[in-house]
């Protein structure tokens, strides 16, 4: 029978016996128990209070780390044993799974530049919405008007059900694109500012002089600015923005159109005109936005005037 409590005298004799090796000792000294349990408590408290034990962990790691890596290397043939029990079907299944995953990852990698561009375009649209103070219906350009019909129009994939109506301003992240000519329920036709028939009220940013920006019939990559005040000569590099119309139709105010490239005098009517390089590349339009009043009901998520997408 184990006697957990013993009188001290008996304990002493026991110790003596144990030293003599005649009789088996029974249980450890109480001091040992207390010391060891206290040591555990001290360790716990030390580790709880702060990084006191970090050097000790480091030291043990320095010694045992190499041993562990050596053991892992030596034991490689043994640790591979569970793999022997993989059946052919298991491996085949794994190959299928991995090749499927590989395909998905490849596709993701391949579309990263495209996704990055799209993200930049959306970010730009958000910035545009903030700067012009209108909500924006995001839309993609899905069709270009043929050049042989001598008109610069595009089709976008947002129509009346998205809240788009005729005579609304179409912008992109870079600047002014054009205005909506007519809508169907799911699509809209946009007249680009580069069209020869397009006239936009523009204002030179540095002098606030007003004028008209027209599409150039001779150079599809340029616009023409005719200032109302013929004495004002815009400097090259000046930015031209829309001056805006009543109620924001067809053009809202403050949308950048382009920069002044050069100034020339028209031989026909001896007026001074400026050639404008538009901010928007009309041949590579993708994501555009239609400026709509804030709170418009739409079948898609709008970028609101405060930059929030709802």
């Amino acid at each position: 029978m184990v006697m957990l409590t013993r009188p001290p005298t008996e304990r002493i004799t026991e110790r003596v016996n144990r030293r003599g090796g005649l009789e088996p000792a029974r249980g450890p000294k109480r001091a040992t128990i207390v010391a060891l349990v206290l040591a555990c408590a001290v360790l716990l408290v030390l580790d709880l209070t702060g990084p006191v034990l970090t050097p000790a962990r480091r030291l043990v790691g320095e010694v045992l780390g190499p041993l562990e890596s050596a053991a892992a290397t030596i034991a490689q043939p043994v640790t591979g044993i569970p793999g022997w029990f993989d059946s052919r079907a298991d491996l085949r299944e794994e190959i299928d799974r991995l090749s499927k995953e590989n395909g998905e990852l490849r596709q993701q990698v391949a579309t990263i530049p495209y996704d990055a561009n799209r993200l930049a375009a959306y970010d730009g649209l958000v910035a545009t919405a903030k700067s012009i103070g209108y909500a924006i219906v995001p839309a993609h350009v899905v069709g270009y008007g043929p050049a042989q019909s001598f008109e610069r129009t595009v089709t976008i994939d947002a129509g009346s059900s998205a809240g788009v109506e005729a005579d609304m301003t179409v912008v992109s992240a870079a600047g002014l694109v054009g205005r909506v000519l007519r809508v169907t329920s799911t699509a809209a036709t946009v007249l680009l500012v580069a069209d020869a028939d397009s006239v936009v009220g523009g204002r030179v940013g540095s002098s606030m002089e007003a004028g008209f920006v027209r599409g150039s019939s001779t150079d599809p990559e340029r616009l023409d600015l005719e200032l109302l005040d013929q004495t004002e000569v815009p400097a090259a590099g000046d930015t031209v923005v829309t001056w805006g119309s009543a109620k924001g139709a067809p053009y809202v105010a403050g949308v950048p159109i382009g920069v002044v490239d050069s100034v020339y005098t028209s031989l026909r009517d001896s007026t001074r005109r400026a050639r404008i390089t538009p901010f928007v590349d009309f041949t590579a339009l993708d994501l555009v936005g239609v400026a709509v009043p804030s709170g418009t009901h739409s079948d898609r998520r709008l970028i609101d005037a405060d930059g929030v997408i709802r």
């Binding site: 000792a25 716990l44 043990v60 043994v78 569970p82």
Partner: protein, 176 residues
């Protein structure tokens, strides 16, 4: 002196095997507690005082060796108590040399390992719960304790006899 060296070597070996080799055979991520088996073996042969010290030393090493990130002292406390219990079992079982038995019966060894594994893992889990060291619930702890118990009992017949024989061999006079 030699038994301390033996203890150190065995504990380090157990720890390294447990961390680097046995993880390939882990079941739900749980590996056999080789260090606990060494402590039980040492305590069965050398008694509870040596068992306690062995448990403490092995526990501190488990607490500080590289992959460990729990509070130091948790395994030390758990294995300390395992060493004590196993030591008492060894002392009791060899109390009567008159029976002619000099060694701990195999069934007792396995039972001690089972009890020690349960007590050790439970204590480790309980201190974790009390100190909120890893924030896991009791529902996650019980299966872990059960699986490690099964592992330890499974490995006991292979690990304990050589460990106990080694501890008897290094210091035969005072061994039980």
């Amino acid at each position: 002196m030699r038994r301390w060296l033996l203890l150190g070597a065995l504990v380090v070996l157990a720890l390294v095997l447990q961390v680097s080799v046995l993880d390939a055979f882990a079941w739900h991520g749980i590996v056999p507690d080789l260090a606990l088996l060494v402590v039980v073996g040492a305590a069965l042969v050398r008694g509870s005082e040596f068992g306690m010290v062995a448990g403490f030393a092995a526990g501190v090493l488990l607490d500080l060796a590289p992959p460990a990130d729990h509070l130091a002292g948790r395994w030390a406390l758990a294995l300390l108590i395992v060493g004590y219990l196993a030591g008492r079992v060894g002392e009791d079982d060899t109390q009567a040399p008159a029976l002619g038995r000099h060694r701990v019966a195999p069934a007792t060894v396995v039972a001690t390992v089972a009890a020690g594994s349960f007590v050790g893992s439970s204590l480790f889990a309980l201190t974790g719960l009390l100190l909120r060291d890893p924030a896991v619930g009791i529902g996650d702890l019980l299966p872990a304790i059960g699986i490690s118990l099964a592992w330890d009992v499974l490995l006991a017949p292979f690990v304990l006899p050589p460990v106990m024989a080694a501890f008897r061999a290094v210091d035969p006079v005072r061994a039980r």
